[in-house]
């Protein structure tokens, strides 16, 4: 056995202090380890499910052979996207009417001013668009107008709104689908032909049938809108564009120009150069917002 009595008192005190400090730091170490373990378990539990869907966004905004850029686009701020969702819109000033660029810019500016939008309030949001349309009507009395397509994406779901003949295209499983139908006379003629059992060739022969039955600038317009949201899945690509894009590149060919593993910037760039490569002598202005749905923790 050790005889501590022969040690000086100061040394014994020092050993006791050292032991107490060691015990204290050991307990502190245990507490810290336990705290870290609990934190880790909480984190792993929280992230057990798949990471959420996020929007990867890019756009192009190009002038074709027209004198003015009559397309206008709007992309909502991304800083509070978890609360407000993401909104993208494209407005195309109507050819043949005056002030197309002014009206389309007014439409996107008005949408920007009214942001944020409630995701589940489709009626209210379409009323906002209708009010914008009425204001254009009051100013120009059908002397100017624009089309509008708008998507609102929130928590993996999408609502969309449309007036006129611009495009909301969904690319899923390598197949492009136009989500919004074009509000023109062709639609009415097809309905009549189908109801009377005829084929609809007649509806496509008359160029005047492409005239719009509804647009921004019409009084009390009928906004096409989703009453319930559409569920999005990973790798969905949404293209919100003016008709300048699809006039030069038919819907079924769009997928030929993009790759499954491209990001939104790559897709937007591919589409832009694909339209440009067509060298259409009457190329309309062409603009689009490209959204790719990706999974991420961020």
């Amino acid at each position: 056995m050790f005889d501590y009595s022969i040690l000086p008192d100061e040394t014994v005190s020092a050993i006791i202090v050292a032991l107490v400090l060691f015990a204290f730091s050991f307990v502190f170490f245990l507490i810290c380890s336990l705290y870290s373990l609990i934190k880790y378990m909480v984190y792993t539990n929280k992230h057990k499910e798949k990471p959420g869907l996020i929007c990867d966004v890019a756009y192009f905004h190009e002038r074709g052979k027209r004198e003015n850029q009559e397309d206008s686009i709007y992309v909502s701020p991304m800083d509070k996207v978890e609360e407000t969702g993401f909104v993208a819109a494209c407005s195309d000033g109507m050819g043949g009417l005056l002030n197309g660029e002014v009206v389309s810019k007014y439409v996107t500016d008005s949408l920007s001013e009214r942001f944020p939008y409630k995701f589940d309030a489709q009626e209210d949001n379409s009323r906002i668009i209708s009010e914008i349309s009425n204001k254009v009507y009051e100013e120009y009395h059908l002397g100017a107008g624009a089309t509008l397509v708008m998507v609102h994406i929130y928590d993996g779901y999408m609502n969309f709104y449309s007036l006129g003949d611009s495009n909301i295209i969904l690319i899923r499983n390598n197949r492009a689908t136009l989500l919004n139908y074009k509000q023109n006379y062709i639609t009415l003629m097809i309905k009549k032909c189908a109801e009377s059992g005829m084929d609809t060739g007649l509806a496509y022969k008359d160029n005047r049938a492409k005239g719009l039955i509804d647009f921004v600038g019409n009084l009390d317009c009928n906004v096409l809108k989703t009453s319930r949201p559409l569920r999005l899945i990973e790798n969905d690509i949404i293209i919100v564009s003016s008709d300048g894009v699809t006039d030069s590149m038919p819907l079924n060919r769009i997928v030929n120009y993009i790759h499954f593993d491209q990001n939104a910037i790559g897709i937007a760039r591919s589409l832009k150069y694909a339209v440009r490569a067509r060298k259409n002598p009457r190329q309309d202005n062409y603009s689009a917002v490209v959204i790719k749905m990706k999974r991420s923790f961020v």
Partner: protein, 179 residues
């Protein structure tokens, strides 16, 4: 409340070989008969309608299936949907199918009993109808439309954009549940 709309179109073919059948009591029953593969579709579709209108039309689907197996030609294709209190029961033979739109998604309606929830939308049609329209197109039109009539017109526009309705017989029924 259940709203429905039916669509029948010859599609520039010589004759309309399909048949769409509806019965409202005691339960809403929707049936589509596809006679495109038959030599004499008229007699078969009449037989099909006759069986469904008779008392046997109310009996269980297992029983009905046996009756159809006995009476109808092997090449006759059909789909029958019967709306029950909280769901829908279906049987199908061949290329006639139904798709259901629920929670912003679209999927094929399985054979047998399937529980329904409010705001479900169903489209049943022959394969010729579905051939020219993508699932995403059907889904988008269902979500945008306010009524069955409007939904059907939007789908017809999609088919027309590709075929000008010169694609052969088109037969479809769509239903919207608003509970």
């Amino acid at each position: 409340m259940i709203e429905y709309y039916t669509f029948k179109h010859r599609g520039a073919a010589d004759e309309y070989k399909d048949e769409v059948f509806l019965r409202l009591v005691p339960n809403l029953t929707v049936a589509i008969f596809n006679g495109n593969k038959l030599d004499s579709p008229k007699s078969q579709s009449l037989l099909f309608s006759e069986i469904l209108s008779s008392d046997e039309g109310n009996k269980s689907f297992d029983y009905l299936h046996k009756v159809f197996d006995d009476c109808l030609d092997d090449d006759s294709e059909f789909l029958i949907l019967r709306v029950e209190q909280n769901g829908i029961e279906s049987i199908r033979r061949g290329d006639v199918s139904a798709k259901i739109v629920r929670h912003g998604q679209i999927s094929l309606l399985p054979n047998g009993y399937f529980g329904l929830s409010s705001d479900d939308s169903i489209i049943c049609a022959t394969s010729n109808f579905f051939k020219y329209i993508s699932d995403e197109g059907i889904l988008a039109d269902a979500l945008v439309s306010g009524s069955c009539n409007e939904w059907m017109n939007m789908m017809i526009r999609r088919i027309s954009d590709q075929t000008q309705l010169k694609c052969g017989n088109l037969s479809a029924v769509n239903l919207k549940l608003n509970r």
